[in-house]
């Protein structure tokens, strides 16, 4: 028997469940991108979502540019659409590894702030090895909706100084 008052156990279990729920979300997010199911990826964001991929160099200096800079799910859908229907790039496999999830806290409106490390590996079909394509941190705001968690904000801040050639698919 744990000698702890009941409400405290509840909050600890609630934190564990929330942590697990975000962890599961990130695993599904990685699976969608690894399989290049970009429409499924777009559905993981809220309508007003902000999605950014930028370097740590920019983030540390407060510079706003992004390699990918999407205000709203419309732009996220346009990105997916453009990549699937118009973009020319060599075929490749991608593998996202997401870990070190930290749930940072809740906003007054119920949104949850979290961050997680990510590693993105890439295999090109003309080179034998997987290469480290990007390593960074997701800075996230999750929104609770009737259909589960959705991203209101995901800022992907990568440590690499150089992007190897091109970032062809989302992070």
């Amino acid at each position: 028997m744990l000698d702890v008052p009941a409400p405290q156990i509840d909050s600890r279990i609630a934190a564990l469940l929330l942590h697990h729920e975000i962890d599961q979300f990130n695993a599904r997010y990685a699976a969608a991108l690894d399989a290049q199911r970009l429409t499924e990826w777009t559905e993981m964001f809220t309508e007003d979502a902000f999605y950014l991929v930028t370097s740590r160099e920019n983030a540390d200096r407060g510079m706003p540019v992004g390699l990918i800079y999407c205000e709203g799910r419309g732009m996220i859908r346009d990105r997916a659409f453009a990549l699937e229907k118009t973009a020319m790039f060599a075929p490749r496999y991608l593998r996202h590894i997401i870990g070190n999830l930290v749930v940072l806290g809740e906003e007054p409106n119920g949104d949850v702030r979290a961050q997680a490390n990510y590693v993105l590996l890439q295999v090109l079909f003309d080179r034998p090895d997987a290469t480290l394509h990007q390593v960074g941190v997701y800075h996230d705001v999750f929104c609770r909706t009737e259909s589960g968690l959705k991203l209101r904000e995901r800022r992907c801040v990568y440590d690499n100084l150089l992007v190897p050639n091109a970032l062809c698919l989302p992070v």
Binding site: V65, Y69, D78, K85, T86, F89, L162, P164, N165, A166
Partner: protein, 418 residues
């Protein structure tokens, strides 16, 4: 002039009999040719882009940069003047400046603490007189002769250039009147604000990047996105401008109404798709803020600068070659002082077109990689550069032309002695 290896007498470096209508692979893949490019082009009679003044606004501000492959530091002195120095200690060669950017009163090499002024002059050598009468530098050691290697500097409209050559012509003469006009259309006198950087490596020869922007033919064929959404189609008002020497260029086009694309042109462009629309088309809007007939200009300023004015997303691209098979591209995206928050966000949204993840940018990077892959795996071939024979070389008013590439190689062969 030709004090290097006698490349031109080596049959391996024979230019094809067709002249400028062919470019042989060794131009892009040969290590000796690359070394000569560093000597004669990047360290030769050229103005090399190194920074924007807005990146070093205050005395003591500095930024790491490159002239060709050579690392330099660009610093603003106490009197506001700008200095460009090799990032190599005059003592034991240490690359002393390790920060990407910062502010300093002086530069101190961490190895033995040789200390330099912001202009590169050697100010102090620890234990110069030795200790207790022993050791130290020779009595006749000349501090003035052991400063950092300094380059010559010029600026125009907030853009900083450097050269190893002391008697370079003024930048305006170097660019020529037509290129200068386009340069000043983008750098129109408003003060710049820095929005951030992109940096990426490209597995290709550095000249392929110039050629890509002297090749308007590819724009409507590779960049399906532009065509799909009617931003650029064959038949748009356009110009491929080259300066008198052929080294600089500006690819220019004016946005037109996609609904007016002629039926015969649609057939040639496999990418053209009627009725495809964006959920957020506003990011493609062009807010006409420049005194120019063109909505898009891409200026290739020899040897290491591209000025991107893609409607309202503005950027510098600096080429840093690292060998025949690879270069690094550093982008500096900017806006102007006085931009509203809405305008800045418009520039940032429109930035999705360019850069290493840009709808267009990623395709250029991939295409350049494919070209280098092709030459490395099926070597000793040559490139066919025949389009628009009526023009010969240089400026062309049709997109279906490779005349500007021929003009660039006319200049390159002259400088390289090949």
């Amino acid at each position: 002039m030709n004090d290097g290896p006698a490349l031109s007498h080596d049959p391996r470096y024979a230019w094809p009999a067709e002249g400028l209508r062919r470019v042989p692979d060794w131009v892009y893949t040969d290590a000796a040719v690359y070394q000569r490019e560093v000597e004669r082009i990047f360290h030769g009679r050229t103005w090399n882009y190194v920074a924007l003044e807005a990146e070093i606004p205050n005395p003591g501000d500095f930024i790491r940069s490159n002239v060709g492959p050579t690392p330099v530091v660009v610093a603003r002195g106490k009197d506001g003047s700008i200095h460009v120095m090799e990032n190599r200690c005059a003592h034991r060669a240490a690359e002393f400046c390790r920060e990407l950017t910062g502010n300093a009163k002086e530069f101190v090499c961490p190895y033995h603490q040789w200390t330099y002024e912001l202009n590169g002059a050697l100010r102090a050598v620890p234990f110069r007189r030795g200790v207790g009468g022993k050791g130290g530098m020779p009595a006749d050691f000349d501090m003035a002769a052991h400063g950092l290697t300094r380059l010559h500097v010029t600026t125009h409209r907030g853009v900083v250039f450097a050269s190893y050559v002391a008697d370079m012509e003024p930048l305006a003469d170097y660019l020529g009147p037509e290129i200068l006009r386009e340069f000043e259309a983008t750098f129109d006198g408003r003060k710049l604000t820095i929005l951030g950087h992109y940096r990426h490596s490209l597995p290709g020869n550095w000249k392929l990047y110039h050629e890509n922007l002297k090749d308007p033919y590819h724009a409507t064929l590779l960049h399906t996105f532009l065509v799909t959404f009617g931003l650029l189609v064959a038949g748009n008002k356009s110009l491929m401008l080259a300066d008198a020497t052929g080294r600089h260029g500006v690819m220019a086009s004016a946005k037109s109404d996609a609904t007016k694309v002629a039926a015969d042109l649609k057939g040639e462009m496999r990418a053209y798709k009627e009725g495809m629309t964006l959920a957020e088309p506003r990011f493609m809007d062009f807010i006409d803020e420049f005194d120019s007939p063109w909505s898009v200009t891409m200026a290739t300023i020899w040897p290491n600068l591209i000025v991107q004015r893609e409607m309202n997303t503005l950027g510098i691209r600096q080429i840093v070659p690292t060998g025949p098979h690879e270069f690094i591209m550093k982008w500096t995206m900017f806006g102007f002082e006085g931009d509203s928050e809405a305008m800045t966000r418009h520039r940032l949204r429109q930035g999705n077109l360019m850069g290493p993840a840009g709808f267009l940018g990623l395709e250029d990077n991939e295409a350049i990689k494919f070209v280098q892959d092709g030459m490395q795996r099926v070597p000793d071939g040559e490139h066919v550069v025949e389009l628009d024979p009526q023009t010969g070389y240089g400026t062309s008013d049709t997109l279906i032309s490779e005349a500007a590439i021929r003009g660039m190689y006319r200049h390159w062969r002259d400088v390289m002695g090949l």
